[in-house]
């Protein structure tokens, strides 16, 4: 990919119609990148159970989005999913892992711990308050832990960012980090109302039946 992103733009830009060709190459490269995000297996606590195991298993099936090839080596991975609490002693290792990954690399921080320190934010002698203190994060997925669906929403957000984001004319330039929270168009009130409805349905028992 280095050859394409570094050598190609100045060559093609000079031709008539060159920029249009570059834009199509961008689209193809970004499409390819976004659909083959290989995550690094990096789980440090409870979120890892949800994000690395539940999403990868057949019920939720991460393979649908082309991100199921979890790699144990940072050299082969594109996506670093920070799933869990980062403590002071882990932080230098996390940074090393991030630096060892080949460009382009993306980071998803899942769970309250990786966003802000979560339940351990106060009076903790060891917990780093947010993964952004160590490495740049592209997408945050809130939750403690986030449900697999929430993680998928984060992954899709990242894919969208990749498709719209980097161009081969400006490699390495990204959009600002985003928070993959509620899907657009759905409000908290709607979710609350739906939950109340389900709870009421489940809490009513018919004794005569």
């Amino acid at each position: 990919m280095g050859l394409v992103t570094e050598k190609l733009p100045p060559m093609i830009e000079a031709f008539p119609g060159g920029p249009a060709v570059l834009t199509s190459i961008d689209a193809v490269i970004n499409w390819a990148r976004s659909n083959s995000l290989w995550p690094l297996t990096f789980g440090t606590s409870c979120c890892a159970i949800e994000v690395m195991m539940a999403t990868g298993a057949s019920n939720h099936d991460l393979a649908r989005f082309g991100a199921e090839v979890a790699r144990p080596s940072p050299r082969q991975a594109d996506l670093l999913v920070i799933a869990g609490t980062i403590v002071k002693r882990m932080a230098p290792r996390l940074k090393t892992l991030y630096e060892q990954m080949a460009e382009p690399k993306y980071v998803i921080a899942t769970g309250a711990c990786a966003i802000s320190g979560g339940p351990f934010i106060y009076e903790s002698y060891s917990t780093i308050r947010g993964a952004h203190e160590i490495i740049p994060v592209d997408v945050y997925v809130p939750g403690c832990p986030p449900r697999p669906e929430a993680f998928f929403y984060g992954l899709l957000t990242l894919q969208k960012m990749i498709r719209e984001g980097e161009t081969i004319r400006k490699p390495g330039e990204r959009r600002k980090p985003v928070l993959a929270a509620l899907p657009p168009g759905i409000t908290l009130e709607q979710i609350r109302a739906e939950m109340i409805q389900t709870l009421e349905q489940k809490a009513v028992v018919n004794l005569n039946g």
Partner: protein, 155 residues
């Protein structure tokens, strides 16, 4: 053995042992000067045979100025559990005997308790920090521990 029978047998080991009421498994409080001999008997006497130290940890009771050391014992032979606690003073240095001669695994578990609570075990062959950096100051699981990195609770 169930806990009522266990209580009779364990209680006969030494007169200074007391038992806690309201615990889900039998729980015995041992004075610190009797710890080593009681532990030895718990392991060696045939009807008890507590051959496994599952966990060793501590609680800092700040208000009572005490630290409670907790040993969770299990017998792989008879399948019964026992919780053994020892109270040591928080302020004066009291030597607690290391139990690594009784259960070897105690060596590492005591290193962990030393690392986080600062309990000094006498007779421990290698009392170093196990989890934290070697140059760490203080013992972070003590209730009154503070350092520059910590965020104070705003309420």
């Amino acid at each position: 053995m169930d806990s009522a029978e266990l209580q009779v047998v364990v209680g006969a080991l030494h007169s200074s042992l007391t038992f806690r009421e309201k615990s889900d498994r039998l729980s015995v409080v041992v004075p610190s000067d009797q710890l080593l001999s009681v532990a030895m008997k718990l392991r060696d006497s045939e009807p008890l045979s507590f051959d496994m130290l599952c966990a060793h940890t501590a609680i800092d009771w700040l208000k009572d100025e005490k630290i409670e050391l907790i040993y969770q014992l299990y017998s792989t032979k008879h399948g019964h559990h026992l919780m053994m606690s020892v109270y040591v003073s928080r302020t004066e240095a009291v030597a607690v005997p290391s139990l690594h001669t009784v259960w070897q695994i105690a060596q590492w578990q005591e290193r962990e308790v030393y690392d986080l609570f600062g309990i000094c075990y006498s007779g421990h062959p290698d009392l170093r920090r196990i989890l934290l950096e070697d140059d760490w100051k203080g013992f972070p699981l003590l209730k009154d521990y503070k350092d520059d990195f910590m965020l104070e609770r705003p309420w």
